[in-house]
């Protein structure tokens, strides 16, 4: 029909697109066609109330995306031909990309799958179309990120097997389990988790650090990807807000269900972002802003305004946001010292920050850095200089829910590890926090199955008993190339030769 009538405007085209997908079934029951729509307890009384904020039709979508794609790949080609990797601030920066490629790009792929599923399950056509478009966006993000970063794989270590590592490596079980949790939920929880809590509330805390980080550190390939994804993300954010308002307006019984999901997914997102906090403060040689500044702007201020706005629906700010707000003074430092001591089991390098960087941190973290964290680095630097670079030779206790090692400290008591435990049906479980423990209590059947990397190693399911075998054989991390200290690493040496400097002193060599 749209083909015959060339005078249709965008709005009409959209009407046709969606109307033709939504018919009243005659010989099948609606609940058989959309079996996932009811079991979460969300009540939708009128799908026609759904306001699709974009009214994007397929033909304009393809055209627009194709244009962006063409520009993007032209820049990737130019970047590769001009050896763009030589113009970055410092090779330490590439470690942020290693984290991104193993931790974030596979989540884009998970989002593609998740939205494809949600896009099948709603009986409302507007929501279905929005999910399907987002699904295609997310697949594109996953692919273009891999293409943007593939050039680095030719020149630096640790980028060679990101998808495999995502499924196996201990710290990547944090993002993996986050997304698996979301997409094994029903479609409404999935949208609350990803569209609202992650993409609307927290996304700036992921994208600003990585994309501005790329810009500040001369990584044109990744910056260009960021620009290319920006208009998609704007759509996703708008969808996130539309979803939550729509669900809340449909029925008052939806409010407590959504509130619990917001509590859960705010917390799960916050724990996931702890990886970004250390990337931001430590892995970017040229710093954009500190984690605590980013948290203040993007969560405390923007999130504060958002939850003020949602008050009229009976929604309050996420439970435990006070813990997250307090943690902004500590998070990145606690994470980095953790990864520093487990660098033998990561596909990226770690290091003691340089003097200017520590001074920057003193300035950004006036109440905490000099008191709690600078002494750690001074000690670690001294040990490394004496040929005793510190690696922790034991395995850490992991949280049953977020799967991060139990490294976080209590609110207001930064030298006391936060830990909770409970017994459920005769089994003991351990948690990093009251919040993760709460999440478990609501759905214990889900989390008793958690594939905790440390426990899997001890059960003998990871191709070896000792860490070295697990790291090499099961994780595909090349020992002596991908892992250990940055100073003296092959990446470091390669960078020095690119810059025409002398190779690193032999006694600075990694382990």
């Amino acid at each position: 029909m749209a083909v015959q009538n060339k005078k249709l405007n965008l709005k009409d085209k959209y009407q046709y697109l969606t109307r033709d997908m939504g018919w009243e079934p005659t010989y099948q029951k609606k609940e058989d066609i959309f079996p996932h729509e009811d079991f979460e307890g969300i009540k939708i009384t009128d799908w026609s109330q759904w306001e699709d904020p974009f009214r994007l039709t397929m033909d304009s979508y393809w055209k627009y995306q194709a244009e962006k794609e063409k520009k993007l790949y032209a820049i990737f080609d130019a970047f590769a031909q001009n050896n763009g990797h030589q113009n970055i601030s410092d090779a330490r920066y590439v470690n942020a990309l290693k984290l991104f490629l193993g931790g974030v790009s596979p989540l884009e792929h998970g989002a593609y799958q998740g939205y494809a599923k949600a896009g099948r399950q709603f009986s409302g056509t507007g929501a279905r179309v929005a999910c399907q478009m987002q699904s295609i966006d997310e697949l594109r993000h996953s692919q273009t990120q891999q293409h943007a970063m593939s050039h680095y794989n030719k020149h630096f270590n640790g980028l060679h097997d990101a998808a495999h590592m995502h499924d196996r490596v201990w710290f990547l079980s944090v993002p993996k389990s986050f997304f698996d949790d979301a997409r094994t939920a029903g479609p409404f929880e999935f949208l609350t988790a990803i569209s609202f809590s992650f993409e609307y509330v927290l996304t700036n805390l992921l994208f600003v650090p990585f994309m501005s980080g790329a810009a500040y550190n001369g990584d044109m390939a990744t910056v260009t990807f960021g620009f290319s994804a920006q208009s998609d993300e704007a759509r996703h954010m708008t969808l996130g807000l539309e979803v939550i308002k729509f669900i809340l307006e449909q029925h008052e019984d939806n409010v407590p269900i959504v509130q619990r999901w917001i509590d859960k997914w705010f917390w799960r997102g916050f724990r996931l972002l702890s990886l970004v906090s250390m990337m931001m403060d430590y892995m970017l040689p040229n710093k954009v802003m500190s984690w605590s500044e980013a948290w203040e702007v993007y969560y405390e201020q923007n999130g504060g305004a958002l939850f003020k706005d949602l008050e009229r629906y009976g929604i309050r700010p996420p439970k435990y946001q006070d813990v997250a707000n307090d943690a902004k003074h500590h998070l990145s430092h606690q994470l980095w010292t953790t990864f520093y001591q487990y660098s033998h089991a990561t596909n990226f390098h770690t290091w003691v920050p340089e003097k200017e960087e520590m001074d920057w941190m003193s300035e950004k973290y006036p109440d905490t850095f000099d008191k709690y964290y600078r002494p750690r680095y001074e000690y670690l630097a001294k040990e490394a200089a004496a040929g005793r670079r510190f690696y922790n030779n034991t395995l850490p206790q992991l949280c049953q829910v977020c799967q991060v090692p139990n490294l976080f400290t209590e609110m207001g008591a930064p030298t006391k590890l936060s830990h909770r435990q409970l017994v459920h049906e005769g089994e003991r479980y351990h948690f990093c926090s009251e919040a993760c423990c709460d999440i478990f209590k609501h759905e214990p059947e889900k989390y008793v199955q958690a594939w905790l990397p440390v426990h899997q190693i001890y059960q003998g399911n990871c191709e070896g008993e000792d860490v070295e075998t697990v790291v090499q054989k099961y994780y595909h991390i090349n020992i002596g190339e991908d892992n250990f200290e940055y100073l003296g690493s092959p990446d470091h040496k390669r960078w020095m030769s690119i810059k025409g400097e002398k190779p690193a002193d032999e006694n600075q060599d990694a382990a």
Binding site: P35, H36, F39, E40, G41, G186, Q334, T337, T338, Q341, K371, Y372, P375, R376, Y379, F390, N392, N393, T394, L395, P396, Q397, L398, P405, N406, L407, P414, T415, K416, L417, H419, Q421, E425, E427, R428, Y429, H430, K441, H442, E443, P444, E445, K446, V448, Q449, A450, W451, L452, V454, H455, Y458, Q459, G460
Partner: protein, 119 residues
Amino acid sequence: MSVNALYDYKFEPKDKVENFNGMQLLYVCWPDHLMFCAPFALLVQPDMTFRALIEEILKPATAAHPDSSKADFLNAEWLLNDEPFTPDADASLIDNGIDHKSMLTVTTPDLKGMAGVGY
């Protein structure tokens, strides 16, 4: 509470003791020694003595810390799963009541880590 699902949602816990080939998990936390970022997750024999746990497992695990060689772990203050606990050095872990996935917390009163901030 219980998970909302389309079917009877029930799964075996992944970390039951029988999956550990005769061994069990034990967590040990040494407060004020944050050089070790998190409590240790250790694989131990249920019938090993508490003394052997200290000598063969805990001491090597903590050896990188300057306080380790000074620590008198046997006579330190212990918690077992957050309750006060007096270990019997020559009894087995199980006979000490330390079962699978138990957590021990050992405080060494005179040793408070480095830099005055429990590092």
